[in-house]
Symmetry: C2
Amino acid sequence: MATDQLSVVFGALADPTRRAILARLADGPATVNALAEPFDMTLPAISKHLKVLERAGLISRGREKQWRPCRLEAEPLRAATEWMSRYREFWESSFDKLDVHLRGLMKGTEQ
Amino acid sequence: MATDQLSVVFGALADPTRRAILARLADGPATVNALAEPFDMTLPAISKHLKVLERAGLISRGREKQWRPCRLEAEPLRAATEWMSRYREFWESSFDKLDVHLRGLMKGTEQ
DNA sequence: GAGTTAGTTTACCGATCAGCTAATTAACTG
DNA sequence: CAGTTAATTAGCTGATCGGTAAACTAACTC
């Protein structure tokens, strides 16, 4: 996968297990075992998913005794949302959609 | 990659070439060759990227003489944005961030 | 029909991904 | 210290990804 920030974030979100982990963390920090519990998957697999999320900046990890609690870091989602917001006008209404389309045509013909 | 709609959309966005193609299509429909022009990449490579975008529902393709014009279909971005909006409160302000964190702790201790 | 333009398909390649098992590290507990 | 709990690392596998070159299809043009 590409290594630019946006690609890494979108890539991290492109997996239902990882999205579910983020959803769980929205309720507060959790240990790796707690995060793994709902999934029919080994702990190393979860550990890898967490590493992907960490690389994307979507979680951070602490140290507390023998636990490494994970916490949600939503900041990268701001950049991702901002990128998508550029296209908002295209889905907000069919009117906008037509409007944008016509503007595109006008630009193409230099009028 | 997982085959659920959200994963396919996020996966399609996790590549700078594909995001650039979408940006180009925001200015209006374009042929495959026109889309390929800015990239130092062969046509089959672009063709594959377009297939990924099409599978995600982010573009549609027509037929006009010997051309297959691509057009932006931003609707899937609505669902993606909606999914992310759940986390908006986590990045909007540090106050909200603290607030949400405290709510999480309270939930954890059953108070 | 021959040639050209637009694009896709096929087959291949090396790299990365998502999962597993087994082994290892780190910290607590008796 | 021995044992347990929490989590990571290492090494393997099969599948997918992103790219290529070569061959092919489809439609237009002379």
